[in-house]
């Protein structure tokens, strides 16, 4: 339906930037088929009409496949399975039979057949097989639209200046997205780590996802603003909103383009201190995009994403291939791979574990890995094998004390010996580091620094555990302060301990990628940052605009203040003059989550 008034929807900011355009709705869900009874002498014509729709569907699938080309064998395989479904006796013969037996029109017969096939799937225990009913829907929907003469809304048919609105995108839609002139997209479903979100970020398409009802309230042709930085979608906005966003979009793209032009340049402060800005990735195929954004290597590869949304655990060979590709692409810049950081609750389909009352403090990450060596050993072996191909560093998460570090070292040595005995050439053990993200690890940073090759400070967890604040909890979220004096003292101790032991210390939490905190972190002595690709050019430019001695003075002043809000106030006040005009507000503000 088309709305007359304007409306604002809030979702998840999946890919930053602003898109303003006409909505192009891909409506795969709500096709209401006409239902009517037919006379016996209409049967043959109705079956022929059905067969023609199936042939047309086949032709369309072949076309999508051709357009995809080499864009992804995985997508091609899905499309080939869909082609086979167009010949499936259960679906196609079933629908034909129903036209004859029940004397109903083809649309109705197809709808009924689809429903019964879906039923068969919905009783399956296994989630992968149960979810194949979505494939049945995609195929049946295509035939239905051809029967009804409704045009297939293929992503490739979208004209320039459009904003794509959909409940969800099929794998073929997502693959084709890369070749269409859409300005942005808004979806009902999806999480930050969904494939669509990653593709949107990689192609710099502003995107808001997880909107729940966007495809219900927007009609094709509506004017839509997608604010991928704030996670907002404005439908048929008021004139003043439209003008405000048009200006903002222009300033953003100008500012962003200026930053991106310098993305590959080093981040050296005004007083000549080089700072390393690396990138975070979740999947191996993000590496190229992150490096193109100016990241100096990978500072955090969250390997657990390879374990999610699938039927079986990835084996050593598959892990090895992914890890090897990442380190090879990074070359001398190197990559830090974090071992499985996952809670027992997320692995239930593979590893049977008891339910826990408090999973945040339970059997997760390194604790789980040390208990389930069948889970951990293949990963360590894959990491060791991949380390031959480049600068690979191994990092373990959620360390609470020395015993865990030593246990990891023992396991690593065992896997190393095992591989040597198997004849694998491993000239040296890769660097081993830990995430410093638990208050206990922060408090004994001096002890741990003597035991490992590097630290990576995980601020998300460190803040959460040190302040005992669940940021997502609306009742206590107001207490979440990265600049709490307790945190600053911890960070200072961690960085000093690292420096005294002569080991590298980096930071890879959200705080590292937020330009509001860059000056304070430089003042603390941090010289290695790791963040999401979109933040890299911004933080690099902020670093180039700062003077380390001024940052140190700012920190000294901050350390004298008694409360988080005083420190936040101080930083807000000083940052503007410190940065001058060297970075545009339009780029800085959406990236900064200043309190």
């Amino acid at each position: 339906m088309n709305l007359v008034g304007s409306i604002t929807l809030k979702g998840i900011a999946a890919s930053p930037g602003i898109a303003i355009g006409r909505a192009y709705l891909i409506d795969r869900r709500r096709v209401a088929p006409p239902k009517r009874h037919i006379t016996p002498h209409e049967v043959e014509a109705e079956v022929a009409r059905f067969d023609e729709a199936v042939r047309e569907s086949e032709r369309q699938l072949r076309e999508v496949k051709l357009k995809l080309g080499a864009a992804g064998t995985e997508h091609i395989q899905i499309l080939e399975a869909h082609e086979l479904m167009l010949h499936d006796p259960m679906l196609v013969d079933g629908a034909r039979q129903m036209v004859r037996d029940q004397l109903i029109n083809a649309e109705w017969a197809l709808k009924k057949t689809t429903k019964s096939v879906r039923e068969l799937f919905s009783h399956i225990q296994d989630e992968y097989f149960r979810e194949r009913r979505a494939d049945v829907d995609y195929v049946a929907d295509r035939v239905l639209r051809n029967l009804m003469g409704t045009s297939q809304t293929a992503v490739t048919e979208i004209g320039p200046g459009s904003v794509l609105i959909a409940h969800d995108l099929s794998p073929s839609d997502t693959a084709l997205l890369q070749q269409t002139p859409v300005l942005g997209l808004a979806l009902d479903v999806g999480g930050m780590t969904s494939h669509t979100a990653i593709v949107a970020r990689n192609h710099k398409l502003p995107a808001v996802i997880g909107l729940e009802h966007v495809s219900d309230v927007i009609g094709s042709g509506d004017i839509v603003i997608v604010d991928g930085s704030a996670g907002l979608v404005l439908v048929n906005p008021a004139l003043e909103d439209l003008q405000r966003y048009q200006q903002q979009a222009m300033r953003y793209s100008v500012g962003r383009a200026a930053l991106d032009a310098h993305a590959q340049e080093p981040a050296t402060t005004l007083d000549g201190v080089h700072v390393r800005v690396a990138g975070n990735i979740e999947l191996h195929d993000e590496t190229g995009f992150v490096l193109d954004s100016g990241a100096e290597g990978i500072g955090l590869y969250r390997t657990e994403f390879l374990y999610m949304n699938r039927d079986a655990l990835p084996d050593e060979e598959e892990q090895y291939r992914h890890y090897r590709e990442v380190v090879e692409r990074c070359g001398p810049l190197g990559a830090t791979l974090r071992t499985l950081d996952i809670g027992g609750d997320k692995l239930v389909s593979h590893v049977k574990l008891p339910k826990e009352a408090n999973p945040a403090m339970g059997l997760r990450a390194l604790r789980l890995c040390l208990r389930e060596s069948g889970l951990f050993r293949p990963q360590l072996r894959a990491l060791l094998r991949a380390s031959v191909h480049g600068e690979l560093r191994i990092m373990v998460p959620f360390v609470s004390g020395l015993a865990e570090v030593r246990a990891v070292k023992r396991l690593l040595a065992e896997c190393h010996a095992e591989l040597l005995a198997e004849g694998v050439a491993l000239p040296r053990l890769p660097a081993l580091g830990i995430m410093v993200e638990l208050p206990s690890a922060a408090a004994i940073a001096d002890i741990l620094a003597r035991e490992v090759d590097f630290f990576a400070i995980g601020t998300n967890d460190l803040i959460q555990y040190a302040l005992a604040i669940d940021r997502a909890n609306e009742h206590v979220g107001y207490l979440y302060h990265p600049l709490h004096p307790a945190l600053l003292r911890m960070l200072q101790f961690i960085l000093r301990s690292g420096a005294e032991a002569g080991i590298r210390v980096s930071m890879c939490g959200e705080m590292a990628g937020d330009p509001f905190y860059t000056a304070i972190l430089l003042g603390l002595g941090l010289r290695e940052f790791s963040m999401n690709a979109v933040s890299v050019p911004v933080v690099k430019q902020v670093i180039r605009s700062l003077d380390v001695s001024a940052c140190e003075a700012l920190l000294a002043e901050a350390m004298m203040l008694p409360d988080a809000s005083d420190i936040e106030h101080l930083v807000s006040e000083r940052l503007g003059p410190m940065l001058g005009t060297r970075i545009s507000r339009e780029v800085f503000d959406p990236m900064s989550h200043r309190p």
Binding site: Q77, D88, L120
Partner: protein, 100 residues
């Protein structure tokens, strides 16, 4: 691996019990591979697991078996080219559908 037996003395056809060995089981891609093999034959080809039987020429049917790695399935072929069909289907399953 398994002995080949006539389904029964009175019923026509050949049947053999096999194990799904590939890591992902009879998922979409493996089912597609098997359908392409099965549709080359005239014989009716059935896959059974416990009390459920499906047409091996139906990709949807095969996926509703939800046969994971290690599942035992019985393949039954009935028709003029039943012997060749059984060999081809068995080879496809035992070759792990060309995967792994």
């Amino acid at each position: 691996m398994s002995e080949e037996v006539s389904v029964s003395d009175t019923l026509p056809g050949l049947s053999r019990e096999l194990t799904i060995q590939n890591r992902l089981g009879l998922h979409a891609r493996a089912s597609a591979t098997l359908v392409r093999v099965a549709t080359q034959f005239k014989a009716e080809i059935t896959l059974s697991r416990d009390d459920q039987s499906v047409n091996a020429k139906s990709i949807l049917g095969m996926m509703t078996l939800a046969a994971a790695q290690g599942t035992r399935v019985r393949v039954t072929c009935v028709g003029a080219d039943e012997a060749a069909a059984l060999e081809a289907v068995a080879a496809c399953i035992n070759n792990k559908f060309g995967e792994d």
